[in-house]
């Protein structure tokens, strides 16, 4: 048993931290609120660092690492609030690579940038076979639908709030083809494709609403498990990104709690503050342990991936919420103003929890996985207690 990071993983994480340290993303995030689009272009550095090819097979020129390694990079992005297409990129690159699609190579090189349109596989509890995507108004709507009636394969449907979609070259769409899930590639500039860039509350998060109206598509040769895996990968990346943000928020709050005095004592000496920060730490450590669970499942136990990814997203998302509010609370009123960076973390937390299904769907998914397992297996006998 060994769950410590390997030397290679540590090197990858440190390199990512080094790359991102060249951009003052937090300061840029503040500026972007006033001047939309004022964010630095981190993409060339990301390409240099090899992130587009992180999960692409070596035969396509990628580095062929796993989801866990991508999560290590996502954690660094979260720590710095850096705005770079990654969460939408990795699952798309993984599907292109798995399908041996022509775009896999250019993707690994950073020449072509694909984006994944997240589609949630059916709940094992309801087992109704329905794949859903995020709707504009918060409703879950059916995934796009494939039409094979013409000479070309086309796809029609809407997917809202797709992270990293603006500026992407290719759309990796999950659609249903006569009820069965299918992954397809659509050119972002094809007829019938509308990509409407949107910003909501967090200026560092690039998103688009996408409408496909009979857009020409190429079917990817992916298994249903790989298609479902893309959803769980996106959940895991959001979780990892959140963990990085929590870590940084705790550093900031802890430093202030040691130096700010009230009633003659540093505020960190009061149980109310101290215990709240310990609660952030507790949630951080739990969320990080769940990232390890995802890494293990992705590598060694794919059946456990849906549960692991849902648990990580759920736990990390709530940890981020708690940490962002806590950062403000510890700072008192000033934490709720732009005199401090706390509002940036708060805005990040607010939008993140509503993306790609949201935390509620992740929680329901986690519960459904537990229930479905319990309903499949005979009840376990009462285990021996430690006495």
């Amino acid at each position: 048993m060994n769950l410590e990071l390997t030397d290679e993983q540590i090197a990858l994480r440190d390199a990512a931290r080094g790359t991102l340290s060249r951009f003052d993303s937090v300061a840029a995030a503040r500026e972007a609120l006033e001047t939309p689009g004022a964010l630095p272009d981190i993409w060339p550095a990301a390409v240099d660092a090899g992130w587009p090819g992180l999960v692409v097979a070596e035969r396509h020129g990628g580095i062929e690492l796993g989801v866990f390694e991508a999560m290590l990079v996502a954690e660094e992005l979260g720590r710095t609030l850096a705005s770079v297409p990654f969460i939408g990129l990795v699952p798309a690159a993984a599907l292109l690579s798995a399908a041996d699609h022509d775009a896999a190579g250019p993707t690994a090189e950073g020449e072509t940038r694909p984006v994944y349109l997240p589609a949630c596989p059916p709940s094992p509890r309801l087992d109704d076979g329905v794949w859903t995507v995020d709707g504009l108004d918060g409703e879950r709507i059916p995934a796009p639908v494939v039409d094979r009636s013409g000479s070309d394969v086309t796809v029609t449907g809407t997917v809202a709030w797709v992270p990293d979609a603006p500026g992407a070259d290719l759309l990796v769409v999950v659609a249903t083809d006569d009820g069965r899930p299918t992954a397809l590639v659509v050119d972002a500039s094809a007829d019938g494709v509308t990509v409407t860039s949107e910003t909501r509350y967090d200026a560092t998060r690039s998103m688009a609403n996408i409408t496909l109206d009979g857009a020409a598509a190429v079917v990817l040769d992916c298994s249903e498990e790989e298609i479902a895996g893309a959803w769980h990968t996106a959940q895991a990346l959001l979780a990892a990104e959140g963990v990085g943000t929590v870590d940084r928020a705790l550093e900031l709050a802890g430093a202030y709690a040691k130096e700010r005095y009230t009633f003659g004592r540093a505020i960190g000496s009061y149980q109310a503050i101290k215990h709240e920060l310990v609660e952030v730490l507790r949630r951080l450590q739990n969320a990080r342990a769940l990232l390890v669970n995802v890494g293990w499942a992705a590598g060694a136990s794919p059946d456990d991936l849906p549960m692991a990814a849902s648990a990580a997203r759920y736990s990390a998302g709530h940890a981020l919420d708690f940490a962002a509010r806590s950062l403000i609370n510890v700072h008192g009123g000033i934490g709720a103003t732009w005199e401090h960076d706390a509002p940036l973390y708060f805005r990040r937390a607010q939008l993140s929890r509503r993306l790609v299904g949201g935390l509620g769907l992740a929680g329901d998914r986690l519960a459904d996985e537990c229930l479905a397992r319990a309903r499949r297996t005979a009840p376990r006998p009462e285990p021996a207690a430690v006495r």
Binding site: L33, F263, R265, Q350
Partner: protein
Amino acid sequence: MDLDDSPEQATYRAEVREWLAEHRHEAPAPMGDMEDSEYIEARRTWQRQLSERQLVGVTWPSEFGGPGRGPVEQLIVNQELVAAGVPGGIDVIGLGLMGPCIMVHGTPAQKERYLAPLLHGDEVWCQLFSEPAAGSDLAAVQCRARRGDDGSWRLTGQKVWTTNAQFARFGMCLARTDGDQPKHKGLTMFVVPMDADGVTVRGLRQISGEAEFNEVFLDDVVVGGDEMVMGEVGGGWGAALTVLMYERMMIGLGTEGFGYSPERFAGAVAGSSRMDRESGLRAKLADVAAELLAVRFRGFQSLSQLEDGRVPGPEFGLAKITTVNAAITAGDLIADVNGPDALVEPGEWAYHISFLPGLKSAGGAEPILRNTVGERVLGMPPEPRLDKNITFDDLVARQREGIAA
């Protein structure tokens, strides 16, 4: 067990409603840009109209120009203003807190000078109490006032969280006149003309991007002689406590004024099928509804007490905690159900979500409120205090060492 108006109250309500029906077209919008001088001017004019009909300062005694009515009549006026879709007086701080402070602590000359223009909206007031290092621990204010050779006072310091400072005529300023006394002693309350040399007002942008509050910098501001002292020199903490008591009353009674009602929040999620499907959403709505209904009836209870002449105790801080936390939960629920579009800016719910973190610490952070209630209502022993039996200057020096260590 009666929530209805008494016959007298019903008559009063009818009169108020009738007058508002006639004049509502003269009123400005209930919300507007508080940095727009035209809108501010319209609000001041509207306050003057209301004051002529005695619809502001409803509980002010007649000797100060008010009708001397009770808190229920104040609530009736507030309810009717909301129902008519018109704003109340622009100077909520002056009408609710500074006016009463002047009535209690002011000299006859000060009452004569300040109260009538305040009531009529001619001179708006702001509250210069909190500082960057003196929020919950208000008695730790560092703003210094020194008496010059000519008997005039000169003030230097920095104040925060000052509502309406950008157009106020006067500020009520808590300053330290003697650092060799323990922290609660050696404070004095001053009237500061906001147009004096050395006064600088700077907006503090909240999460929403709006400047709900200001910072006020005082740089060797000459405020005049002892006629500008409110109460006694060295008696500033007593005057501050008066204001804090009125603030508690306002908070205890006013929570529905923010529009935090179960009906409104339920309306924002009722259309979504997610409420029927996703686990925990209805439970969250139930939490919000139970808490806000409770606060509503706690408010009615406190009105009943006020009618009996009893002032709400410190436990009314709990109503504020309940309200803020329920409103935060409601914001979470509404954006969870409606997705990222609930966060569009400008927009009702993005504003709601952005506003609450600031409200959470306004009027005392939650741990401080819980301390107060624990000690004064439940009789729990206080925490050890390291800031007693030490002069203020020594205390500050010790803290500097603590940070350096």
